[in-house]
């Protein structure tokens, strides 16, 4: 290539490129909600363009307009030379747009390769599916991405993180010009997040433009060439980030409309009496024994790698997973927990990790989802909508859940607001021992701070909290004690000053000699 003469060079490198996608004045209204008003947005070739904004700001809605799942009421979508009023999913794919949604769209009963090629199977001469070719192609992609993934594993047996990789590979296999990722790192721990981020950078280096939505502002700062802030369905600002040092406090201010102390810290309380004691809990015959206690006013963090068995332990405690032995003592009395109803009666509440699958009945209303575990709180046999508003309505206010009404179906709420509905369920039930499994997945900075404040308040009022988390800052700021889990075993308990990222990582990996040789 020839060097371009100076006078021909544009001062702003952005100017020399035509946008891949440009939207002008996009508007979208849902019943009771103006989701997007006048969105102008440009995506340049090969750039990583991050979109940030509070829960319900309209990010996913905007994406669904680009992918053709939703039609805007007005506005233009310019792709290359062509201008569209709206797209269809087919048209969008034809234009080289691929989207990785928040929700999983994989077929659990198929293996990785089958999922990647579903709908466009490689066929041989006779029209039969050429499994070997598909497998080798997939292997190649997996290798080129530098990740560890068994192409023949069943998707239902994969960890969330690996499922995410499958989605990414599936999208890349379509040779897209534009890859849109809606909170791709939400369910990842720091280490896997690093892998995804590197993946995203590699992808953009291949000339593919990436739209990247995330609530983790540090990663936005780290990979974004440009950052656009959505607020209440509008774009409020767009910043270049060439030196990867964008001012996050400013971004937060633009998102929320005021400054937010993102580094919330639990108010120290004097832990009260022991409320929960777990003795000799074993999930199966070969698994190690788990012992721990929990006191009122305490937040007990549980750290460990994804797949280290943290969720399984709390599931067993809650009566939702398998266990073969173990004594559970609550408020000084031994209780038998064979199923969740036993646990709930004993005062436990469980905010699960995958809210779409195990947290919410998506087709039911906000009110129904909130009250389902606490129907006995209603004194009378029959429940009227007025009763619901009286009893469940306050949690919409307390947690600032953004919904047009209590009767709205939960599937129409944005991701973060869905999470708040799950939390509200257990507040409504007045559970005293709350298990939060990755409580802030997909939650915006402001709501995060709100949830921390809420947890802190609950603890101060005598509740006890178990918090599984892969987010180090969260674990460190919120926990009174941290149990580190590895292979289903508690490797250490860290208290107070000792709760540091370094220590957690050391014990979570805890490489021992025999494993090094393995």
């Amino acid at each position: 290539m020839f060097p371009v003469p100076a006078f021909l060079q544009c001062p702003n490198p952005d100017m020399e490129q035509f946008p891949v996608i440009e939207t002008r004045d996009i508007n979208k209204t849902f019943p009771g909600v103006k989701a997007l008003s006048g969105i102008d947005f440009t995506l340049l070739p090969g750039e990583i363009h991050c979109i940030v904004g509070e829960n319900g700001a309209g990010k996913s809605t905007f994406i669904k307009i680009l992918s053709g799942f939703l039609r805007p009421e007005s506005g233009d979508i310019v792709i290359g030379e062509e201008t569209f009023r709206y797209l269809s999913p087919h048209l969008s794919q034809e234009q080289g747009i691929q989207v990785i949604y928040q929700e999983s769209l994989l077929v659990p009963q198929m293996n990785v390769v089958e999922n990647i090629y579903v709908g466009r199977e490689i066929t041989g001469k006779l029209g039969f599916i050429d499994r070997r070719k598909a497998l080798s192609e997939t292997r190649k992609v997996i290798e080129s991405l530098g990740i560890a993934l068994d192409p023949q594993a069943m998707v239902e047996n994969l960890e969330v993180a690996d499922r995410q990789f499958v989605k990414i590979i599936k999208a890349l296999a379509m040779n897209p010009r534009v890859l849109i990722m809606d909170e791709p790192t939400a369910m990842f721990n720091a280490q896997d997040t690093g892998v995804v981020l590197k993946l995203v950078e590699d992808i953009s280096k291949r000339g593919i433009s990436v739209i990247f939505i995330s609530h983790r502002l540090e990663e936005v700062a780290r990979v974004g060439d440009r950052v656009t802030v959505f607020k209440d369905g509008r774009t409020v600002a767009s910043h270049d980030n060439p030196r990867r040092n964008i001012d996050l406090a400013m971004i937060t201010r633009e998102m929320v409309g005021r400054s937010v102390d993102a580094f919330y810290k639990k108010v120290k309380t004097h832990p009260g009496e022991t409320i929960l004691e777990v003795q000799g809990l074993k999930l199966d015959k070969d698994s190690p024994e788990v012992n721990f206690t929990l006191r009122r006013g305490e937040i007990l963090g549980i750290a460990g790698l994804v797949g280290s068995g943290r969720t399984e332990i709390v599931e067993a405690l809650f009566g939702a997973g398998k266990k073969i032995q173990g004594k559970i003592i609550i408020r000084g009395r031994e209780v038998t927990i064979d199923r969740p109803s036993d646990a709930i009666r004993a005062g436990l509440g469980f905010i699960t990790e995958e809210r779409q699958r195990t947290g919410l009945a998506l087709g039911l209303s906000v009110a129904k989802n909130m009250t389902i575990a606490g129907l006995n709180k209603f004194k009378r046999a029959f429940i009227t909508p007025a009763d619901e508003i009286r009893s469940a309505g306050r949690y919409v206010d307390d947690l600032a859940i953004k919904t047009p009404s209590l009767q709205q179906e939960v599937r129409f709420l944005s991701g973060g607001n869905q999470q708040k509905v799950v939390i509200a369920r257990w507040l409504f039930r007045e559970s005293e021992i709350l298990i939060f499994d990755e409580p802030t997945i997909g939650i915006d900075v402001n709501a995060k701070a709100e949830i921390y404040r809420l947890m802190s308040k609950l603890a101060a009022n005598g509740a006890a909290i178990i918090m599984i988390s892969s987010e180090m800052p969260e674990l460190i700021a919120m926990s009174d004690r941290v149990l580190v889990i590895k292979h289903g075993q508690i490797t250490t308990e860290l208290v107070g000053e000792n709760i540091t990222e370094e220590k957690i990582i050391t014990y979570a990996f805890g490489v021992t000699d025999d494993e090094q040789t393995a």
């Binding site: 947290g359 039911l364 129907l375 009227t384």
Partner: protein, 292 residues
């Protein structure tokens, strides 16, 4: 709208007498559809409800023909579908098999019993127990009262009771229901048993009206109840649907059938039309999904 069309085609359609006749005809279907709707909304389905009618009514007649006291015969006949529903519920809940297959198979079992008991012959109530199906109070046939009470009862139960909440949650997402402390197996058994109890009422109304029955008397009720429920907005996935809508579905089906009767369309063609309506209803109810 349909009524107007049929009314224009044949003025007899809109006569008071005919409207009452429609109600008469849909009474049994209306009650049966409540049973179907409940199981569907809970995330299941009961395809054996037609056979339950056959078994229940055949047993009643058999007992009466053999000289059993009428009240006792009726009581036993009414308990039978409740037992059938319970059995369906237990198998569905404990085996974790697809309810569609389980209840389809159980339907054959019940039908088979009905055939064995009746020997394939007409069974007669011998003129007993006619009031429920044929009586009139204040100028309105009793089956109309039955179906209206049934619809109201089911509506209140589903919309306002705690049981109804749990049932809808079960249909909406079984895992969530389980993790929210709902006894999922028990709830399924109760739902199917309740469906059976509703079918007991349907059987009583029908046998009382007809006076004598064959084992296949309930044939087709499962499919028509399914169609009515789907037309009324219930979905196969469960967790969705409301009883007033379902009742409209029943009414619509009744009007179509009655209209075709009055226009003297042959019963062969009517079968065809019913099939088309069912498939169309299912397809239309799925349009949102197709769009995606």
């Amino acid at each position: 709208m349909l009524s107007v069309i049929f009314g224009a085609l044949n003025p007899r359609f809109l006569s008071m007498r005919n409207l009452l006749a429609i109600f008469q005809q849909i009474a049994v279907l209306g009650v049966a559809t409540m049973a179907m709707a409940l199981t569907l909304i809970s995330g299941g389905i009961d395809l054996s409800i037609g056979s339950m009618i056959g078994l229940s009514t055949v047993i009643m007649c058999r007992l009466i023909m053999d000289g059993t006291a009428v009240p006792l015969a009726i009581l036993i006949g009414a308990v039978v579908p409740v037992g059938c529903g319970f059995l369906n519920g237990v198998i569905v809940a404990k085996s974790k098999c697809v309810p569609l297959i389980v209840t389809l198979g159980m339907g054959y079992v019940y039908y088979g019993f009905a055939l064995v008991i009746s020997g394939g012959l007409f069974m007669s109530m011998q003129g007993q127990f006619r009031t429920l199906g044929r009586g009139v109070i204040a100028g309105i046939p009793i089956p109309m009262y039955v179906v209206i009470l049934m619809v109201l009862g089911t509506h209140v139960l589903l919309k306002y009771s705690k049981f109804g909440r749990r049932l809808v949650a079960l249909g909406g997402n079984e895992t969530v229901a389980f993790l929210s402390g709902i006894g999922v197996d028990r709830l399924k058994i109760i739902t199917y048993t309740l469906g059976g109890a509703i079918m007991a009422l349907a059987s009583l109304v029908l046998v009382s009206r007809l006076g004598n029955v064959l084992a296949n008397v309930g044939e087709g009720y499962e499919l028509r109840a399914l169609a009515a429920a789907i037309i009324g907005g219930v979905t196969f996935e469960g967790g969705r649907g409301n009883i007033p809508g379902v009742f409209l579905g029943v009414g619509l089906l009744g009007i179509v059938q009655n209209g075709l009767n009055i226009l003297q369309v042959s019963s062969y063609f009517q079968t065809l039309a019913l099939g088309v309506i069912i498939v169309a209803a299912v397809v239309v109810s799925n349009i949102e999904k197709i769009r995606q």
